[in-house]
């Protein structure tokens, strides 16, 4: 093989370049979304009633699909009530139901969405809750 050392050196530089984000982050504290569900509205409820319309795990995983289905049910089929797995019914509305409890949009919605780099367009039209804390700059 000709130019063995040049090739090996070149390969090492290449591997170093490709893997540098991983190597540089070794030992560093991992950036995690710091989601808060302790909005004043939720905290004012008695402890046993502090739960969402469906189990936490389900909401965490499926809330985006659920909101899409709610949208189609309300706008296109004229169905406005959601009957949850316990038989309780709720008015299907992001603006009038969800954020009545989750009024801390910047800590509840944005925190994770920023981390996952997803940009849902809900708030282009729906009116976001007024928060007391200082608003962070938009991504």
């Amino acid at each position: 093989m000709y130019d063995t050392w040049k090739i090996i050196a070149g390969l090492l530089v290449f591997i170093g370049f490709v893997t540098h984000p991983f190597i540089l982050s070794i030992g560093k504290e991992k950036l995690r979304p710091n989601v808060e569900i302790n909005s004043p509205e939720i905290m004012s409820l008695p402890e046993g009633e502090r739960k969402c319309i469906e189990p936490k795990e389900f909401m965490r995983k499926e809330h985006m699909k659920m909101l899409n289905k709610w949208r189609d049910a309300v706008v296109r089929e004229g169905k406005t009530l959601y009957v949850n797995s316990e038989g309780k019914s709720f008015n299907m509305s992001l603006q009038n139901t969800c954020i009545q409890c989750h009024s801390n949009k910047s800590k509840f919605c944005d925190e994770c969405h920023k981390y996952a780099h997803v940009k849902p367009y809900c708030w282009d039209c729906h009116i976001e809750p007024k928060e007391n804390i200082k608003k962070e700059a938009k991504l």
Binding site: F58, K69, R76, G78, T80, L81, Y82, M92, C125, I127
Partner: protein, 261 residues
């Protein structure tokens, strides 16, 4: 495997292709059904007003400037409709128009000047044969089972075919972000965004809560709303005893908004 013949090879290939193409989607379908069954269901609110076909009767004789302005004001304020001064960019769901412009085909040289200049309330006609729905490429505007021609703002791409299709000019396009043109927002209703078309929706959100459209409520009896397919309804009773006219009937759009003279 070395003595596999051509026939067996083709069989294996065929079965492999079928499993490869449909196997994955088969499991997806099975899994999805389980997931859908595990969450809640959707239904209409029990208090919701329902009809086979909603219709509106506007009595022009009972209208006056105050009633007209009240109707426009309540509609535009509860639906977060922006007030934009430039007529090329204005947004309107319900507005005032002179009689001669609402019914341009009624031309008689001896008709009174007062009638021709009379103010008339106009809004989306919620046609039975809506041209806007026919031209919408994304089905963002569609006809509900109860006759309401609805807008799904999530789907509107702002192509404005519907505006070209509507013979009544009932649709407005958001040339700019409407938020800054709304003084007192209604927290219970969304805004629209720049680049979508909007219009009257017969107050679908109020019907779902058991309330009549807002303009009907403030019209002091000048506007009547009801199920035109129900012979006992107020609109049917008015239509069966009065001569009512509709806008541009020759076009065959079959409007659900009737006018009494």
């Amino acid at each position: 495997m070395s003595n596999i013949d051509r026939r067996d090879f083709l069989k294996i290939l065929g079965v492999g292709a079928i499993v490869g193409i449909w196997g994955g989607s088969f499991f997806e379908i099975v899994n999805k059904r389980e997931l859908e069954a595990s969450i809640g269901s959707y239904k209409k609110a029990p208090e919701a007003l329902q009809a086979k076909k909603w219709a509106m009767v506007i009595d022009i004789k009972k209208l006056n400037k105050k009633i007209i302005n009240d109707c426009i004001e309540i509609c535009h304020s509860i639906h977060n409709v922006p007030t934009i001064a430039n007529p090329k960019e204005e947004i309107k769901w319900i507005w005032e128009e002179k009689f001669k412009n609402v019914f341009p085909e009624i031309k008689d040289q001896y008709l009174s000047y007062e009638l021709m200049e009379m103010p008339v309330l106009v809004l989306c006609n919620h046609c039975d044969n809506p041209p806007c729905v026919r031209v919408c490429p994304t089905k963002a505007t569609f006809k509900r089972k109860d006759g309401i021609v609805m807008m799904d703002m999530h789907r509107c791409i702002g192509c404005r075919f519907c505006m070209a299709g509507c013979p009544y000019g009932a649709r407005s396009f958001n040339w700019r972000d409407p938020r800054q043109y709304i003084k007192n927002e209604n927290k219970e209703f969304p805004f629209r965004m720049k680049g979508v078309v909007e219009k009257c929706t017969f107050c679908y959100e109020r019907l779902a809560r058991g309330l009549p459209p807002a303009c009907v409520e403030v019209s002091q009896g000048a506007i009547v709303f009801g199920d035109i397919e129900n012979p006992e309804s107020a609109v049917r009773k008015i239509l069966s005893t009065n001569l009512a006219i509709r806008r541009k009937p020759k076009l065959g759009t079959n409007p659900s908004v009737y006018y009494l003279l």
